[in-house]
Every structure is written in structure tokens, then in C-alpha cells.
Symmetry: C2
Subunit: 212 residues, 2 copies
DNA sequence: AATTGACCGTACTGTACGGTCAATTTACTG
DNA sequence: CAGTAAATTGACCGTACAGTACGGTCAATT
């Protein structure tokens, strides 16, 4: 009632609070990615973050909310990653595709991205919007940027005309050929040689089908 | 001690027991596929099978054991499926690939196979041999049979020489292009038109790269 | 008719979880 | 330093789970 100048109260300890909030999300990421959503326990997260469960619930109202916060941050990181991967200044199409493809494939096959894929695939039926936002912010952005390159090359007459978005998806799929699923199924980790080999093969096949 | 002719006891009521065991696995399949491993409860399975939990544990010593039994049966089913999909008698390579590709892609995109993929991907880190046996009995077999066709066509000089196994994997990956992951991420269900379109595109690109 | 053993229903144990709360400590302010 | 509001704690609650125990039922075998 007697709250004169409420606005002054707000930034009272924001720095410490934000830092702690971020620390919680960092721990949550580690636990969620290694244990999965169901097996991850709030008690363990609280213990690993060095605080109590009550404090945890002071920052996030529920397990779902913490999970959503973590996934939001994660998607954003992945989205910005797409920019780095896709800026190729090579004039030669084959060289550009090889360069982009190598970076993209290594990114997709990294342990971190694999763990996120696992999580999204497992929880997507239960949380439909999770799958959607992950797709929009991650893979979708990556494909779209590759698509822009391909569309430009098509317009310049250096590639056959066609649906550039589908072409980008096909190239991405050729890159993964076998390696992605074998890693997802815990059958085998791809070697560096296999990765390089897959990239050159993907470029070869893509250009065989699309080179003007 | 006084166990004369123990052997006689064995086949006493095997028929009913096996039938019941199968009924339990059938129910377990349904529950595991829709709920996932962690969320599936033994009580619910017992209730759906129409029996008591004690009986359930009379047939399977633990939840893990029931899960393993279900996955074993499932892998076998999927393995036999590969045979039907892969027998193509078309002489024309493009026609054969289109025929096989259409059946294979529709199989992969079916709700049942998608649910199994989800389960395997989610549980593979926890149960490493699950991922391995699934791969060996399912996708591996499918790719190998397609590989046999491709190798024969290569030997006959109708396709360029190369690694037939990798070529088979590449063709499989081209078939899926985008659709598989969008369904796995609960972003969008593929339409019939998209499926057909993906098949013809996959054949086109594959032949552009491999036709002699 | 007697016997067997699989089966049912239910209640139970122990454990682990998500989430809550009153009490306490900490950190800032006048 | 005193006062106060926020931050933190850890014990606690209700619930749900895997797995166990047991008295009683019933259909098939002997």
C-alpha cells in the first residue's frame, strides 16, 4: 500500500540473480542431455548447482518450465551456429559445398547436437511445440541458408533449375548418409576419415544431379 | 531328490503358456510404443492384459526383461519386412528403384516404425546392445538387400562402379530427405504427394550420379 | 474325488520423485 | 547498528512406481 517509488526496488540484486539463473540452466543442460527428461531429477540438479530444491523452485516454477528455459537457450545457440557454418566465400561451387558440408556434418555429429536430437525426438510427442521450435530455430534455419546459396547459383545458371529448398535438404541428407543414424543408435561413432569421405561423396552426387 | 522322470513335466501346458506370453508381449508393445519406456507402468500392462501383476512377474522377471523380449520380437518382425520390400522383378533400374523406394519410404514413415525409432533412439545410450541389435536386424538388413541389387547392376555394367553399400545408404537417405525428421520431430506428417515426389526425385538424383 | 499349480485380487514394502513451506540466513537500507 | 525484505534452506507432503506376499479360486490332470 505505502509503496512509494516501487520502480527503485527492481534492479536491486539483478546481477547475482541472473548469474545464478544462468548457472542453474547450465547444470540443467548437462543433466537433461545426459539423463533425458524423465530420468533427470530436480533434486540432482539442485545438488549439482550447489543449492537446495527450494531455491531451484524460486527460479523456475516447475520441472517443465526449467526444461523449456533450457531448450529455449539451446535452440538459440544452435540457431546462431548456423550462421557461422553457412558463410562460404569460395567462388567454386564444389569448394563451397565441401567447406560448408564439412562444417555442417561435423556440427551435426557432435556429441552435444546428438544429445539434443535424442531429447527432442523422445519428448516431441509429449511436447509438440518443443519439436516445432527446435526445427524452426535449428535445422530449418540451416537448410534455409544453404538454400539461399543454391538458389543464387541456380539464378546465375551455374546449377540446374529446380526447388532449391529440396535440393538443400537432399544435400544435407547425403552428407549424413548412414553416419548420423549409426551414431544415434549407439552402433558406431563416425571416424574423421568417414566424415571426409561422406562429404566428398555428397558433393560429387549433388553436382552430378544439379551441375548445369 | 526323488525326481524320477523330470523330463515329463516340461511340456505339460506349454500351449496356453506360450499364448499368454505372446499376449503379454503384444500388450507391452502397445504400451511401450505409445508411452515410452520410463512412462510405461507394469501395473498398466497387467491391467490391459487382463491379468494380475503377480502373473506378469511370473512370465518376466523384471520390467527390463519384458522390454527386451518385446524389442527382440519387434526386431525380428522388422527384419522379415525387409524381404518383402526388396524383391523387385522389374528389369528397368529406374522402375525397380521407384518400386522399392516407394515401399521402403512408406514403411519407414509408418507410425509403427516411427514409434520404434523413437524408443530406440531414446534408450540406446542406456541399453547399448538394444541399438546394435535393432540396427543389425532392421536397417542393416534392408540396406544390405538393396546393396545386393546395386552390386549386381554394377557388375552388369548398368551402373557406375563404386561402393554399393554406400550407394544403397545414399539412396535410402535421399528417399527420406526432410520427411523422416520432420515427422520424428512432430513438425509435420508427410503427405502422399510428398512421398511420391521424394521417391521420383531420389531415383532421378541417384541415377544422375550412378547411371553408366 | 483328490491333487496340482497356474492364476487372481489386493494389500503391502521400500524407494524416489515433484513440489511446498515455515523457519532461518543473508544482504541491503535508513 | 537496527530493521526489513528477499534469498535460501532442508525437512516435509502426497503420489506413483517396481516388485513382493499371500489367501483364495478354478480348470485341468491323476
Amino acid at each position: 500500500m505505502t509503496d512509494v517509488n516501487v520502480s527503485k526496488i527492481e534492479p536491486i540484486q539483478r546481477k547475482g540473480r541472473d548469474a545464478r539463473r544462468q548457472a542453474i540452466i547450465d547444470v540443467a543442460r548437462e543433466v537433461f542431455l545426459t539423463e533425458g527428461y524423465a530420468a533427470a531429477s530436480m533434486s540432482e540438479i539442485a545438488a549439482r548447482v550447489g543449492g537446495s530444491k527450494g531455491t531451484l523452485y524460486n527460479y523456475f516454477p516447475s520441472k517443465e518450465a526449467l526444461f523449456a528455459a533450457f531448450m529455449g537457450a539451446e535452440c538459440q545457440i544452435e540457431g546462431t551456429m548456423a550462421h557461422q557454418i553457412n558463410d562460404a566465400e569460395e567462388a567454386d561451387i564444389a569448394a563451397a559445398l565441401t567447406s560448408i558440408g564439412g562444417r555442417l556434418l561435423r556440427f551435426i555429429l557432435s556429441d552435444k547436437v546428438q544429445a539434443i536430437h535424442r531429447l527432442v525426438i523422445a519428448e516431441a510427442p509429449r511436447l509438440p511445440e518443443l519439436g516445432r521450435t527446435f526445427y524452426e530455430e535449428g535445422p530449418r534455419k540451416g537448410v534455409t541458408m544453404l538454400c539461399d546459396h543454391i538458389e543464387r547459383w541456380m539464378d546465375e545458371g551455374r546449377l540446374k533449375h529446380g526447388d532449391p529448398f529440396r535440393a538443400a535438404e537432399q544435400f544435407g541428407e547425403l552428407l549424413k548418409a548412414g553416419l548420423h543414424h549409426r551414431k544415434l543408435w549407439a552402433v558406431a561413432d563416425p571416424t574423421e576419415a568417414q566424415i571426409d569421405s561422406n562429404v566428398t561423396e555428397a558433393v560429387r552426387i549433388f553436382l552430378a544431379a544439379y551441375a548445369a
